[in-house]
């Protein structure tokens, strides 16, 4: 894997999308592959903890807030490409599938996987975020002044 910053940013992007994917999304994407590639585990799915940090006052010195469950996995494809996943939660099958897709994204399959797997999941995630935010936006207070008589309708 090239270690220059740009490919790292690209890989971090799809790894984040895979981490937030549901198991069902990854499972159906995997089943849709006509000739699924062979792979072996470099590291079998393993569940543990990540300590989450905050900052005093939001911007000051870090402190330990509490832990979150996290599951990781690493696989190697037949051509030697390695894939890794880390995702909050305890879903080991999801971690396995995410690692496989991370590996595939580093092969010649990249464009195909981006179009058929990564992009649709990313769109669904963005739609969910937008919906949450729009529901919050509907509860935004519109202050108006009673005496001036220019209240919005």
């Amino acid at each position: 894997m090239n270690n220059s910053p740009e490919p790292q940013a690209a890989r971090a992007r799809w790894m984040g999308i895979l981490a937030r994917a549901t198991r069902a999304e990854l499972e159906s994407a995997w089943k849709a592959i006509v000739e699924p590639p062979a792979y072996e585990f470099l590291r079998r799915p393993e569940t543990g903890l990540a300590m989450v940090r905050g900052r005093a006052g939001g911007t000051g010195n870090p402190f330990n807030l509490g832990e979150v469950t996290v599951t990781r996995c690493a696989v190697r494809l037949a051509d030697g490409t390695a894939g890794t996943s880390y995702a909050a939660g305890r879903d080991q099958r999801k971690a396995e599938l995410a690692a496989i897709f991370d590996a595939l994204m580093q092969t010649g399959e990249r464009l195909r996987i981006e179009g058929s797997v990564i992009a649709p999941i990313a769109r669904r995630q963005q739609t969910d975020r937008d919906l949450k935010s729009r529901k919050a936006a509907a509860t935004k207070v519109d202050f108006f002044t009673m005496v001036r008589g220019d209240n919005p309708k």
């Binding site: 890989r11 989450v52 905050g54 006052g57 832990e67 996290v70 890794t84 529901k135 202050f143």
Partner: protein, 366 residues
């Protein structure tokens, strides 16, 4: 002192069966699923995750079901479970300014950039029992209104507005800061720095922290607070796995955050300016983070050269008693057999009583 006692095996096993039956309740009523708890008793789940110091909704829901809704017991179960898992990573500090905001209000500024966003709050409900929720046919599928556009991304903190004018103490990371203190790996130590105190308060008992925060408002340590800002929503968790060497997102967690703005009259070295109290917690726990922010400020007394006179300002008192797993454990240990201890005390009381009565008889005779 307590001693090992044998002979209760059958009684204990039968009590396990009885608790299972009691937990299930009337079997003509459908069993509650952990899924239902996680979705419909979400704030209970949030409290258990915050004080259990482990973010995992499914595990917290399971703990609540297993503990029959006893949240302190559920928190204990979650803490016990976490000890079985290895630590795989430490996150970068979460950036709450980049939160996917679901609620954000300020009591200090009416017109804040990004606006006052009420979100899912009980604040403006009438607190009348809603019998519609008890109706046989249920509540159906309530749908909240959807705004035309999402909120602005990246809402600045209200404190930053004051910071810009230099009217509040700056809050920037120290360049030479040590690794943050970790209560899961090190025993409590004093004097405690703010990182240790914040971790302790974040996982501290809500009732205890609330009562302490309340005490500072009632005069047991005045901090003249304003709720500068309260926000709740999702923040992304980033880690840097060793084998990759760059940061990746592993998902999002819901957190609540409170910035209290407090008066400070200044000292010889520091100009008069506002000071900060900070609260941060997993889940939607607004009462908790507000109380935490009050207590955080009270515990900073030493830093501002203020005399620590009241319980909320006494870090040993606060930190040693905030944890409900430790507190419940030590109070509960009184239930363990103390038969030998008690026999010794009984013997002592009998002897003292005999001496007392002999003295009285002697005095009467004289």
């Amino acid at each position: 002192m307590y001693v090992a006692v044998k002979g209760g095996e059958r009684a204990i096993l039968n009590s396990h069966e009885l608790i299972a039956e009691t937990r299930r309740g009337d079997t003509s009523v459908p069993e509650v699923s952990t899924w239902q708890i996680s979705e419909q008793l979400g704030l209970a789940v949030d409290r258990v995750m915050a004080e259990g110091s482990l973010y995992d909704r499914d595990l917290a829901a399971l703990a609540i079901k297993q503990a029959q809704g006893d949240l302190v017991e559920a928190i204990f179960l979650l803490r016990a479970y976490r000890t079985t898992l290895p630590r795989l990573a430490v996150s970068l500090p979460v950036d709450t300014a980049e939160m996917l905001v679901r609620r954000r209000v300020s009591a200090a500024y009416k017109d804040i950039p990004g606006g006052q966003v009420l979100g899912p709050t009980y604040d403006y409900t009438h607190r009348l029992l809603d019998f519609a929720l008890a109706a046989e046919e249920g509540v159906g599928d309530p749908e909240a209104p959807v705004g035309e556009t999402p909120l602005e991304e990246g809402m600045p903190h209200v404190a930053d507005i004051l910071d810009y004018e230099g009217l509040i103490e700056p809050e920037v990371p120290a360049e030479d800061a040590d690794e943050p203190f970790d209560l899961t790996r090190e025993p409590m130590s004093f004097p405690a720095d703010r990182d240790q105190r914040l971790q302790n308060l974040a996982r501290g008992d809500e009732g205890f922290v609330l009562a302490l925060g309340y005490s500072t408002q009632r005069g047991f340590g005045g901090t003249h607070p304003f709720a500068g800002e309260i926000r709740m929503g999702e923040v992304s968790i980033e880690i840097v796995p060793e084998e990759l060497g760059f940061a990746i997102d592993i998902g999002d967690v819901v957190v609540s955050e409170c910035h209290m703005i407090n008066q400070f009259e200044g000292s010889a070295e520091r100009p008069p300016q506002f000071t900060r109290g900070y609260g941060l917690s997993f889940g939607h726990n607004e009462r908790k983070v507000m109380a935490m922010a009050l207590v955080d400020r009270a515990l900073r007394a030493r830093e501002f050269g203020e005399e620590a006179r009241y319980p909320a300002e006494d870090e040993e008192f606060v930190l040693y008693h905030a944890d409900n797993v430790e507190a419940a454990g030590f109070v509960s240990h009184l239930k363990l057999p103390h038969y030998v201890d008690f026999q010794a005390e009984l013997g002592l009381i009998r002897k003292l009583r005999r001496e007392f009565e002999e003295r009285q008889q002697k005095d009467a005779a004289e």
